[in-house]
């Protein structure tokens, strides 16, 4: 148990410190790297409480895909410059009220969750699901997700699909005058389309089309 506690405190310390560093660090790319460190330590915490499927999925989706795209965007845009403008300009105070409102809401939500957990410990045992503890948690999630909650699961998939299509439609623009490669027409080209044999008359030559 001692080793367990030591590892728990190491990972949670890393998670908290890196979460603070995400907001504090000046360089935006450093922020994203701290965010990645945060994700990794949180997935370690998930694995420590026995939710290995959730931990791995967290690693694959958030660290392996989402954070890569974050990094991609942050590196491509010159965000560091923009940020300095925000800090130096007078209008920067515009962002503070919105941020304050959101952080207050999150703070109260956390209080509700922790309060419920501390003062009503039977909350966890009173849930309606009966999960068989003998099967691995991958199987347990599968049994619940694809039976009782299949409609909600499908619905969330649909929402993600709509979001994806929406993003594509918003950024799609058809530029004119761009030569596109058509693989079908390339492959279906015959010899007769491209090569023409001409009997060249003597001393006349051939006039080419282009």
């Amino acid at each position: 148990m001692l080793a367990h506690a030591i590892f728990f405190y190491i990972f949670s310390l890393i998670a908290i410190v890196s979460a603070i560093m995400v907001t504090v660090s000046k360089n935006t790319v450093h922020s994203v790297f701290f965010l990645i460190l945060d994700f990794i330590s949180i997935s370690c915490l998930f694995i420590m409480i026995g939710a290995e499927f959730l931990g791995m999925i967290m690693l694959i989706i958030y660290v392996g895909a989402v954070a890569v795209l974050f990094l991609f965007v942050v590196m491509m845009l010159n965000v560091a410059q923009q940020k300095n403008q925000w800090f130096s300009a007078r209008e920067s105070s515009k962002h503070i009220p919105v941020g304050l409102i959101i952080s207050t809401i999150i703070f109260f939500e956390l209080i509700i969750v922790i309060g419920g957990w501390k003062y009503k410990p039977d909350l966890v045992s009173s849930m309606s699901l009966n999960i068989d503890s003998s099967i691995s948690n991958t199987h347990a999630i599968g049994y619940v997700l694809y039976t009782d909650y299949i409609h909600i699961f499908q619905l969330s998939g649909m929402i993600l699909l709509v979001a994806m299509i929406g993003a594509i439609v918003l950024t799609f623009r058809q530029r004119s005058g761009v030569k596109r490669q058509s693989y079908f027409s390339q492959i279906s080209r015959e010899r007769s389309d491209g090569v023409e044999l001409i009997d060249v008359p003597s001393n006349k030559g051939v006039k080419s089309d282009d």
Binding site: F53, V63, A65, V68, L69
Partner: protein, 332 residues
């Protein structure tokens, strides 16, 4: 005391796994160059040691005694971290590879997810190296590599789902045991081909080595690296290639199982069979490097998103329907 003894026994096991992996990485580099040379009717490295076997050792020594140059305008911490990340990620994934029913360092429930997660983290070493160098070619290489690896991971993930549908477990030993009667390479042959090509793209091997295309980007993300740091990138890359071969042989070629369950074959230890299968896949990797020209970047993206992804998704539907119709789903 109890913890200490646990730590010592685990360290012993880890060393027993990692030292052979590192040695075989050095050997595999030699093999790669040799095959490449033979295809092109050259000799390849044949001077140092018998058949040039010690060439990698000589190279490693050379890198060790070279100066490590850190560019003055680079982001130093991330610049130094990048090769360390690449190397570490390439080595930690070997923890879950089963060499026989009992010879596995960590026999975890979600082994295949762990492998997939670690291989998807591999892109960070490249992005960090490319960005921290603060130079144009490394940055372009890193951006290319990030987009490429994220794209091909998707199809690898879907292919893994195909295999999992037939197995019903995420444990790597269960996956191997499920292939006792029939290796998955036979029923899922198209998926094996797609997995092989995606593995080439995932490890930035030719014909998908655009992140380090020497004709246009010098050496991509490795341009600013020198000495031991360059060697670490190099080791990490080849360890990743070996890992992809191991993953392919566990998923499709029956892992440590012997091909025929007859007398002379089934007494050979499973580790030998696994190593032979990894070698077979690696020789294919090396041959592809020698005979196929480099892809253009838009063709690479098209292949990943417009061909491999729909094909592997369709195959998931096919596999699932087949298993469901014939009542073969592995429900326990």
């Amino acid at each position: 005391m109890e913890y200490l003894s646990i730590i010592f026994s685990e360290t012993y096991k880890i060393l027993f796994l990692l030292v052979p992996v590192l040695v075989s990485v050095a050997m595999i580099v030699w093999l790669d160059r040799r095959i490449w040379a033979f295809v092109q009717k050259r000799q390849g490295p044949n001077v140092v040691g018998p058949f040039g076997l010690l060439q990698s050792l000589a190279d490693a020594l050379k890198y060790m005694f070279k100066e490590v140059i850190i560019p003055s305008s680079s982001n130093k911490v991330i610049f130094i971290l990048a090769p360390i990340v690449t190397m570490t990620l390439a080595l930690i994934s070997w923890a879950v590879i089963p060499f026989s029913a009992t010879q596995v360092l960590a026999d975890i429930n979600v082994g295949i997810l762990y492998l997939f997660a670690v291989s998807s983290l591999g892109v960070y070493g490249i992005i960090m190296g490319g960005w921290a160098s603060n130079s144009k070619y490394p940055f372009l290489g890193a951006i290319r590599s990030a987009a490429q690896m994220v794209s091909y991971e998707v199809s690898i993930g879907v292919i893994i789902i195909n295999v999992l549908l037939c197995v019903g477990s995420l444990n790597l030993n269960d996956i191997v045991m499920a292939q006792e009667s029939l290796w998955f390479v036979i029923p899922l042959f198209p998926m094996f081909v797609i997995f092989f090509i995606s593995a080439l793209a995932e490890t930035n091997r030719p014909p998908f080595d655009l992140p380090e295309a020497e004709a246009e980007l010098v050496a991509g993300y490795q341009t600013e690296y020198s000495g031991m740091m360059y060697a670490m990138f190099w080791l990490g890359e080849y360890a990743n290639i070996l890992l992809m071969c191991a993953m392919g042989s566990v998923l499709f070629l029956g892992g440590w199982l012997s091909p025929i369950d007859l007398f002379p074959f089934n007494v050979i230890p499973g580790a030998i069979w696994l190593i032979l299968k990894i070698l077979l896949l690696f020789i294919l990797f090396a041959l592809v490097k020698a005979i196929v020209p480099r892809y253009r970047y838009d063709q690479l993206m098209r292949l990943g998103w417009k061909i491999f992804l729909p094909l592997s998704l369709t195959w998931v539907v096919l596999t699932a329907s087949f298993l469901f119709y014939f009542n073969l789903l592995p429900i326990n």
